[in-house]
Symmetry: C2
Subunit: 426 residues, 2 copies
């Protein structure tokens, strides 16, 4: 072995060690100890910077599903995880009992902690997480209830939300699946975010079911994203669109995180992009293509541009970590804060890019982000990540869990990085 | 009443008389006497120029449905039609028993005369006629089986055929709903014809069900047609497309009439249009908009251009009747034959245009076509129409019924003309 390759091996080995350490001593025990709602079943999601439980009056379908997904995937990827299967199963019980709409089908957007009704709207972002979690649950446990409800939800999306005029899916609908109003209710908007998550969930659904129609619709959403949701000029993801996929200035929409976080202003101007979404999109599409046994130079070129834009402009090569948002055309970062999910996803995506294209810059980017995350985001002695930091690493929102943030980004990041590092070292 | 308006009234009254006469003495008794398959149930479709039964070894779903539709609609539009309801009902029995696919859902393309399996493919054109006929059947009879199977078929189309990449529907799929191969099997093509018939069937489905999702998908297909399937330059309908709705030279496709008729060559060049389809499209869209309680100047402008192109270039002002095909850009007619269905549909469409826009040319066109049809197409003493004539009216194909031609175009034309004439005279 040459000196250079020995050095690279040592570097990867070092990363694997820190990733496994954080997973085993941090994220896994954190959620094992706290996620179960012992009173009502399902999961608690709200924890402060010290991991102390905060009031959890509402249960959102997306975070309930993200924890079902987490415990399911954990149980098949790490040894001795019987307890994870039990936690996932009781999460599925709670979900089906309290979120499933017996009248119209589909899962409600949120319920009260005890499972009683709160917001019965059908939000495609949330339905997509149901498909994702329930499919993963069946893959992990063999319990067919998961894929059965996932497939029913998929069918409802095709019937009510698929847009046969323009392609893609309506994203915001009412309980009875009729389209929501426009404006803040989002009935007249489509976005990259929801369509990317549909790609993610259809990938897992197809892996669980093997049904050709799940693959067909998966590839339709992959190709839609490639053709309409990515800016041809810069190679970056666009953000929001009208129903006809004309790019629009992003606005806050009800029931999305930015619509709920206090003090968030609509992103402005229109020509911004999220480095984190771009890199997440790259590796989720890679996984979609691998699962569908598809691929080719068209997709590779798109992936390379997504990664290159982010590695050049999104990584903070001075302080480490990934910026929140930048301008598409010049790449210039304009929102310099460091948020947990973009950093989680960029860790995976850059390792994915290094594995795929062998470009050293991606591995360096991984190192630069991982160093920043370990130093500032991870809470020592507690085992999870803060929500939001300023550019230099000072906490803006130090809390660990909220109705949007559980183990999905951070935990998945560690599991996916671990597997990529193991492959690279093999 | 002025002399001019008295003259117009007399003209309309005259048309009403000849239309009602042909309906009551021609088309209605023709099918009452011959359509029922007394041996196996369902309908016979093949008759020669004298109305004599020809061998009918195959039953196509489209013509079985067209006769279900015919007897259903007749029973609610004309008095004393109990027998029509009975004929429709036994047609529905035969359809559900022999065409419905218990394994994959949906209706087979064709069966043998006795109902045994022949071609179990799912062709969206055929599925659309099932939706159309079964919905009309429920409206006419109150038997809920119709709309129940229609709605199930609608759901299957949304799940398997709706294209979430480009919009619209895949048109040619296998028994298990997987897309057919490209080329002659048509898996890589979309067309105006199928999408226009989906608009037609979703209109009747929504009228029967009142379900908002049926209206939603109806308006999506209406708007898709307006935006992508009509040539912006000439205002005419385009013909065939790739999956992304790029206009392509028309080719013969398996299981479509032109693909089956001996000696038909692929239409060439690409820039042709069907005057008959254009005018049919106009009035079917009018009916769709009326049913959906939608409309507006955008649609009116499209309708006017469809009618004006056909009235100027498609009507044979010398010999009467409507030409088969012409060039989109110049309008020049290049296939001068006169076929039954284009003439049937133009009669309705031009009366529709006259009612809507008050333009005298449309009424003159109606007269010029109706005169030609009565003189050359209608078979005296037999009561139905020949299939195909040359420009001057000489029979090329004198037969009355075949696996594609029953009472749907001719009979609907007479019923729709009658209602428009009654309204105009009111």
């Amino acid at each position: 072995m040459s000196e250079a390759s020995t050095k690279a091996q040592n570097l990867l080995q070092g990363h694997l060690g820190t990733v496994e350490d954080h997973l085993k001593k941090g994220i896994i025990p954190f959620w094992f100890e706290r996620a179960l709602d012992k009173e009502y079943g399902g999961f608690l999601t709200n924890f402060d910077e010290q991991g102390k439980e905060l009031p959890c009056p509402e249960k959102y379908v997306n975070t309930q599903c993200r924890l079902i997904w987490w415990f399911s995937t954990l149980s098949r990827r790490m040894p001795n995880m019987q307890k994870a299967q039990e936690l996932a199963a009781q999460g599925v019980d709670f979900l089906i009992k309290n979120f499933w709409d017996e009248k119209y089908g589909g899962f409600y957007w949120k319920v009260k902690r005890d499972g009683s009704e709160l917001d019965p709207a059908k939000i495609v972002y949330g339905e997509s997480f149901c498909i994702y979690a329930l499919s993963e649950y069946t893959i992990a446990t063999g319990d067919k209830r998961g894929v059965e409800y996932a497939a029913k939800t998929f069918d409802l999306l095709q019937k009510y939300c698929a847009d046969t005029h323009f392609g893609g899916y309506y994203e915001n609908v009412n309980r009875d699946w009729s389209p929501e109003e426009g404006g803040f209710a989002g009935g007249d908007r489509k976005g990259l975010d929801t369509h990317m998550h549909l790609m993610e969930s259809f990938t897992t659904l197809y892996a669980a079911s093997g049904e050709p129609v799940h693959k067909l619709k998966l590839m339709q959403v992959v190709d839609l994203i490639c053709d309409k949701l990515i800016d041809k000029a810069s190679g970056c993801g666009l953000n929001q669109f009208d129903l006809g996929f004309n790019s629009l200035p992003a606005i806050s929409i009800k029931r999305t995180w930015n619509g709920e976080r206090l003090g968030e202003q609509p992103a402005d101007p229109v020509d911004t992009t999220s480095y984190g979404h771009n890199v997440e999109l790259e590796y989720l599409m890679q996984m979609a293509l691998k699962t569908a046994r598809a691929g080719g130079p068209k997709y590779e070129a798109i992936h390379k541009r997504l990664l290159d834009h982010a590695v050049k402009h999104g990584v903070d090569w001075t302080y480490g970590g990934v910026y929140r948002d930048g301008l598409r055309a010049t790449g210039e970062a304009i929102v310099l804060e460091k948020e947990f999910w973009q950093n989680s996803e960029c860790l995976v995506g850059f390792l994915d890019g290094y594995e795929q294209f062998g470009d050293e810059r991606y591995l360096e980017a991984f190192g630069k982000i991982w160093e920043f995350v370990r130093k500032y985001m991870v809470i020592e002695g507690v085992g999870e990540w803060r929500t939001l930091l300023d550019r230099e690493g000072k906490a803006i929102d130090g809390n660990i869990g909220n109705p949007w943030k559980v183990a999905y980004h951070t935990g998945r990041s560690m599991l996916e990085c671990r597997e990529r590092l193991l492959r690279l070292l093999a």
